[in-house]
């Protein structure tokens, strides 16, 4: 699934619940779905907070075999993830990237040559017993 969304806070619970609904239908384990919801939320709220001056962003999610790959693409000015440090214990902000790195099996940040940033998150899926998802796995 792929969606182009307005750069607006209301888009975050929308995309979160859509992806969670899809993963539920496939029978992905609740713990894995919670992790995916949270990492997706962090990636999207970063775009809404920081990706000036863009009006829109795109979220795509693909399930290949037992891997879920999420790409969040904006058209803002991009950013340098190496300049973002983990939050000090009492600091208010700076936990978004920390959370993404902790929950995803792989996180990649890149900047597009034109303009904008790409966050690519990968999560290894596990299915509940009797789930529909593994029947679609071909390999």
């Amino acid at each position: 699934m792929a969606l182009r969304l307005p750069r607006d806070a209301a888009s975050v619970p929308l995309i979160r619940q859509m992806l969670d609904g899809t993963l539920t239908s496939l029978g992905v384990e609740p713990q894995i779905r919670d992790d995916i919801e949270l990492m997706l939320t962090e990636a999207c709220s970063n775009v809404i907070r920081h990706a000036v001056p863009s009006d829109e962003y795109t979220v795509s999610a693909m399930v290949y075999d037992d891997l879920c790959v999420i790409r969040v693409v904006d058209t803002g000015h991009g950013f340098d993830p190496s300049k973002v440090h983990d939050a000090a214990p009492g600091a208010e902000s700076g936990r978004g990237l920390q959370i993404m790195r902790a929950l995803a099996d792989d996180v990649r940040f890149s900047n597009k040559r034109e303009n904008g940033a790409v966050v690519c998150l990968e999560k290894r899926l596990r299915y509940s017993p009797g789930a529909a998802g593994p029947h679609f796995i071909t390999t």
């Binding site: 975050v12 919801e37 949270l38 939320t41 962090e42 999207c44 208010e92 936990r95 920390q98």
Partner: protein, 106 residues
Amino acid sequence: MLDRTPLQIEIASSDGGTVQLALRGDLDFGTAGELSAVPLGEGFERVEVDLSEVGFVDSSGLAALVRLHQRAAAEDAVLRVVAVTPYLRSMLRMTALDRLFSLPPG
């Protein structure tokens, strides 16, 4: 239909100088500002936060909890999380916030 779960905050103040906050719903990017805007009054010594009915929390929600902790500290009050879900406990550990807030044993 999408079931958005807005944040509800119940506030109770006791005579003993304790402000009790019970949160229900999602504490996230869209609702974190509501927690930051909650009036605490003055002259309190303890803030007790019940997070057992919170379904979803993200880094914006955690930031709002840190701000609440700072507001309590500014009044020389102590903030305690008195109830928490296993999910939220693991998130507070992951982000090292269990060192900032005292959490109930579990």
